[in-house]
Symmetry: C2
Subunit: 329 residues, 2 copies
DNA sequence: CTGTTAGCGCGTTCAA
DNA sequence: TTGAACGCGCTAACAG
């Protein structure tokens, strides 16, 4: 691998000059700039990112934090989209990124985690998925030692931004479509987990809709579990006109229960995971939503790391974020 | 953040001495070792991994390469397990890891990719999922400039190892159980993709079983698609006694077809994805398999990076790697 | 066994 | 506008 020194030699300039060209400094004449670029091209030179990170104290390194197993396995698809979006954007913006899973830091104190992160020169953290009782992480965020971006959790401070869709409105939209299509009056709403931030927002959406249309609705917590949703549907669906679920996985569970009970009720989910059926095509739009959130999260992290203040960022969402299938049985 | 110099000062030794105890060098007296460790503890010192990577030319940095969208979205769960396993092991062995997705390097030539990787001081690559026609990557591997570990693809050279389960045997086992439980004679085998490495191995397993038990079997390629499997089942399942699929997703598709046709046939899948039903519990064993493969892959990368020669590594697999459900309709 | 010295590859003053 | 020189934090010879 050619180093910056080789380039300097070949271009007949000093190392620092090459560095300046590389980092788009203002005070370099067009002529030498061209000579340097020519040398770079000829030598196939690529700056060593580690050396650069060590030298410039302000190289951005951000940690991506995922928790695949906290809620349910089946949302891995969503995390993948988050991850893909963030990594893509990281590459575009020339940002170094480190992937973590919650489990890798489990059992450690906030101090230990902070040291660990600092030792890796990490200045920004993006957290995909955090519940209300993740005490340690709330402390890490609260200390404001890193620029943090939290997805789907309303935590904002000087150095922390939150990125998410408007879950209340989204749930409202989805439920509304389901209810109106079949003129339902009694809704069974299967929510996620009590300790999840979005859970309450989604319930609010349901409540709002019920208020507007004068519906009756029952809320039960399915904890994003297919099995629990199934059991809930078994128990309550019969006297309802439709089932609205806070996740596709739970929608599958509910539907299976309906099939076994041999009754038909419209069911709708939320995430738009691919598995939801061959209808397929349009679901990809929803996948895109998660991808976009991942990208946006990285941008927001950069924003914070370059001095921006924490804020709330709302992302758009696809209305296709819904599932509905007639069941013939 | 305290640096190595602070530690040296506080312990009253030279910087290099601190470095030696940090890296567990042999020639350090117990006494100074303790003094240094005390200073480290007091100052809450954590070595800066970037600086260390820059300095020691042989610090291991390995790239994890995933391709979530190549086959089908629903196997994200498997990739997550791979990733988790590899990252966990990386942390345990103090190895730096960078996560990539195929899409991030798409369209680039082998040379460009190599430069990119080299510039990041990457010496090892773990590829989770590669098809026969990934020309560029085959070239990168062939050049033997990196220590490569390829999952589920039989590529071995001086610097390349392959890690996988015995797909032939596994498919044999799974199919055998399905066939024997219901004394089936005619099997519909829905394979994956023609360009997938494991596809042929699995078909061999099916063939071997058919030979031993004198079964008749038909092979069709479902390309790991739920929809295609569904169509195949619609077309061929009627005259068969059971359906053996190379993936759970295809098994779901096949089952749905059977339901719509209102006929019953045993169906079995392969991956053991969580979504496969509430039976659930035991499926986790299979998830473990993927996690273990991820871990093993990282170990193998380290082995190669420290001078080991490429080889084939076989991993054990759970027989629960199967799906079977009675359908009442 | 310990300390001194020289880099690793690059960013960044500060003179020139 | 350019370049020499220093330093980032650490590892790795080599002396002592």
């Amino acid at each position: 691998m050619a180093s910056i020194r080789d380039v300097a030699r070949k271009a007949g300039v000093a190392i620092s000059t090459v560095s300046k060209v590389l980092n788009h400094y203002p005070n370099v004449s067009e002529e030498t700039k061209e000579r340097v670029n020519a040398a770079i091209a000829e030598l196939d030179f690529v700056p060593n990112s580690i050396a650069s990170a060590l030298s410039s104290k302000n190289k951005m390194r951000v940690a991506l934090l995922l928790d695949p197993k906290r809620q349910t396995h089946a949302i891995d698809q969503i995390f993948m989209q988050y991850l893909l979006g963030a990594l893509d954007r990281a590459q575009e913006t020339d940002t170094e990124v480190v992937t973590f899973f919650f489990s890798m830091l489990e059992g450690r104190s906030a101090d230990e985690i902070i040291r660990d992160l600092k030792s890796q020169n990490i200045t920004g953290i993006i957290i995909f998925g955090i519940s209300k009782k993740e005490k340690v992480w709330h402390e890490v965020i609260g200390r404001q030692l890193f620029s943090c971006v939290v997805i789907d959790a309303p935590i904002v401070n000087e150095r922390t931004s939150t990125v998410s869709i408007d879950h209340e409105q989204a749930q409202y939209d989805v439920a509304r479509k389901t209810v109106l299509d079949d003129t339902c009056r009694r809704v069974l709403y299967i929510a996620g987990r009590r300790d999840g931030y979005v859970t309450d927002e989604r319930i609010s959406g349901m409540k709002k809709l019920a208020g507007e249309l004068g519906l009756s609705y029952t809320v039960r917590y399915g904890n994003f579990s297919e099995l629990e949703a199934r059991n809930i549907a078994f128990r309550y669906a019969k006297n309802k006109d439709c089932v609205v679920c806070a996740s596709d996985l739970m929608a599958i569970g509910a539907m299976n229960a309906l099939i076994e009970m041999d009754i038909f009720r419209p069911v709708c989910g939320f995430d738009g995971i691919t598995l939801m059926g061959y209808v397929g095509k349009q679901m990809n739009t929803v996948q895109q939503d998660f991808y976009s959130i991942g990208r946006k999260a990285l941008d927001e992290a950069l924003f914070l790391m370059t001095g921006g203040s924490g804020r709330q960022v709302r992302m758009p969402y696809s209305i296709v974020r819904m599932y509905y299938r007639d069941i013939i049985c």
